[in-house]
């Protein structure tokens, strides 16, 4: 295999777990197969590994139970927060308006963060699919955006919080019980005060927070694994 060919195979092997990558690259080096066969071997194994992950409920729940539906809702809520902000500056909403705005910003941040955390923690190795499921509604809404006096970017206010949450979920897997309860209670209370739409939609957004409570660790863990 040429150096360029080997570089392609080695790059593709980045899709594998570190231990498996070492074994497979060793096998291919020993066999001395042509580049294309080595590349297909590595890609085939990566594909099989991904496919086996999808036999579990976790990637489905993460991508299609949380990321996809909740990103539609969070896009709508982001727009509402942006609209509340604009009105406050144009019309002056007073102390109540400021309170409502702050409440909605906090609610948006907490809901987006907890959804992101749940997605990152529930299915770490298929996070790419959950991120794609989150970005699809964003692209769809951006392509049809037509709200006057609003920037299309206002749809994406939730995104930094959601991505931060996903990163934390990937890293920590589980929250401490106290933090999880604080987060879930705050989301619920703020939702009662500041949620503008039907309750059924709000429940879809706050359940990831309570899921984090249910899966929280009681004591600090020494190490976390997938």
């Amino acid at each position: 295999m040429t150096n360029a060919g080997w570089w392609c195979v080695e790059t593709a092997s980045g899709l594998l777990e570190p231990r498996e990558r070492e074994v497979v690259l060793g096998d291919l080096a020993e066999a001395g197969d042509p580049m294309l066969r080595g590349l297909f071997d590595v890609l085939g194994l990566a594909l099989r590994r991904q496919a086996s992950l999808w036999k579990n409920w976790r990637p489905w729940a993460s991508a299609f139970g949380v990321a996809l539906p909740n990103s539609f809702q969070l896009i709508g809520f982001s727009l509402l927060v942006s609209e509340t902000f604009r009105r406050m500056f144009e019309q002056g909403l007073g102390a109540d308006g400021v309170r409502l705005l702050l409440c909605r910003i906090a609610l948006l941040a907490i809901l987006a963060w907890s959804c992101g955390f749940a997605v990152g923690a529930v299915s770490r190795r298929t996070l790419w699919a959950s991120i794609a499921a989150c970005f699809l509604p964003c692209l769809f809404c951006l392509s049809r955006f037509g709200v006057p006096h609003q920037s299309p970017l206002s749809l994406l206010l939730f995104l930094p919080f959601a991505l931060w949450g996903a990163w934390q979920g990937l890293r920590l897997v589980r929250l401490r019980l106290g933090s999880a309860i604080t987060l879930a209670v705050a989301a619920t209370v703020l939702a009662i005060v500041g949620w503008p739409g039907p309750w059924i939609f709000m429940l879809a957004l706050i359940w990831p927070g309570w899921f984090l409570v249910a899966t929280a660790r009681k004591r600090p863990a020494k190490a976390q694994s997938d």
Partner: protein, 109 residues
Amino acid sequence: MLGEFEYLIITAAAGLRDQAYGAAIRDAIEETAGRKCSVGALYTTLDRLETKGLVQTWMGEATQQRGGRAKRMVRVTADGVAAAKDFYDAVARISRGAAWAFKQTGGAA
């Protein structure tokens, strides 16, 4: 009951004894069975066999021939031997009287 590819892997690993690892098993299957054996099929099947308790695997030593990378060594367990024997017996029983089996064993017509 084992699948055909599972049987090939167990048999190749058993034949290789202490030298049973991914690349060697793959070579043995390709040379003796005359079929392509992809790395993906090999390692996902090995995982399945290990989950069933039919083989044990562990990380072996690294060699210069492999660019200093470790091997995944394979050992067939007693359950693996029994499962392979069951498969072989079933194939032998069902093949009795088959024209191709008859020719191979050199029996009279």
